[in-house]
């Protein structure tokens, strides 16, 4: 199965970003394909490479690691501008791109899953 994923909420405030990461890992472990992860609205905050929670799970690193593993992880450019997430603050393996990427993932996915509060 080809899955697309969208995350609408930021890290730590709600469970959405955590669950999205776990969903992607579980789907891959079952042999499914992830066509892309789109970080939208506050979801783009998970792409900040300076996330550094003392003694807690690092959600920013988790998305970066998905990108490093070959999953296309995209943060919405406009949403990043709304939130002051300048390109030099962005995690190495998360791309900044527009809604065209969301459209691409929607077109490729057989199932599309949104994680939000």
């Amino acid at each position: 199965m080809k899955f697309g994923v969208m995350v609408l909420d930021g890290p730590y405030q709600h469970q959405a970003a955590d669950t999205a990461v776990r969903f992607v890992k579980a789907a891959l472990a079952k042999g499914h394909e992830i066509v892309g992860v789109f970080l939208f609205a506050d979801g783009v905050n998970a792409a900040n490479r300076f996330i550094n929670p003392p003694g807690e799970r690092n959600i920013g690193r988790a998305f970066d690691e998905l990108g490093a593993a070959g999953i296309e992880v995209v943060a919405c450019t406009a949403c990043a501008k709304f939130r002051g997430l300048k390109p030099d603050l962005k995690s190495d393996h998360v791309k900044l791109s527009g809604l065209g990427s969301l459209a691409e993932f929607l077109g490729k996915a057989e199932r599309f899953v949104t994680f939000a509060a």
């Binding site: 609205a41 949403c79 527009g98 809604l99 065209g100 969301l102 459209a103 929607l106």
Partner: protein, 119 residues
């Protein structure tokens, strides 16, 4: 199966960022010639209300944007009948020509879509 995307408008227009981002996502994906369906349900019916005046919030009226979606080929709107009735509204209060339908019909519409995006 070509992509047919439903956008669920579930929240009132200004309390959260969801409806505004949903609207941007409709515009941003419709230009890629996707088949787009918009469903107003629960407090989401307020998103399409005519005459919104959010100037006091330093925000722009969201409802006025929906008629312009026709320019990018988005013309299929549904509104949940009970959600309208519970709020004392009717279809004529909305800024777009939406089909007033029961929950069962909305379920059918969503079942016919390749993806449902809840905002």
């Amino acid at each position: 199966m070509s992509a047919r995307i439903a956008f669920l408008m579930r929240h009132s227009p200004y309390g959260t960022v969801y409806p505004a981002e949903g609207f941007r996502a409709m515009l941003g994906t419709a230009v890629f010639e996707m088949d787009i369906v918009i469903v107003f349900i629960d407090d989401g019916v307020y998103v399409a209300l005519k005459g919104q005046q959010p100037g006091g919030l330093d925000m722009k009226p969201l409802g006025e944007g929906f008629p312009g979606l026709a320019d990018v080929g988005v013309k299929e709107f549904y509104v949940h009948d009970a959600s309208l009735a519970e709020r004392g509204l009717s279809a004529s209060d909305l800024s777009v020509d939406a089909a007033v339908v029961a929950a069962a019909r909305i379920a059918e519409v969503l079942a016919g879509c390749t993806a449902v995006l809840p905002f």
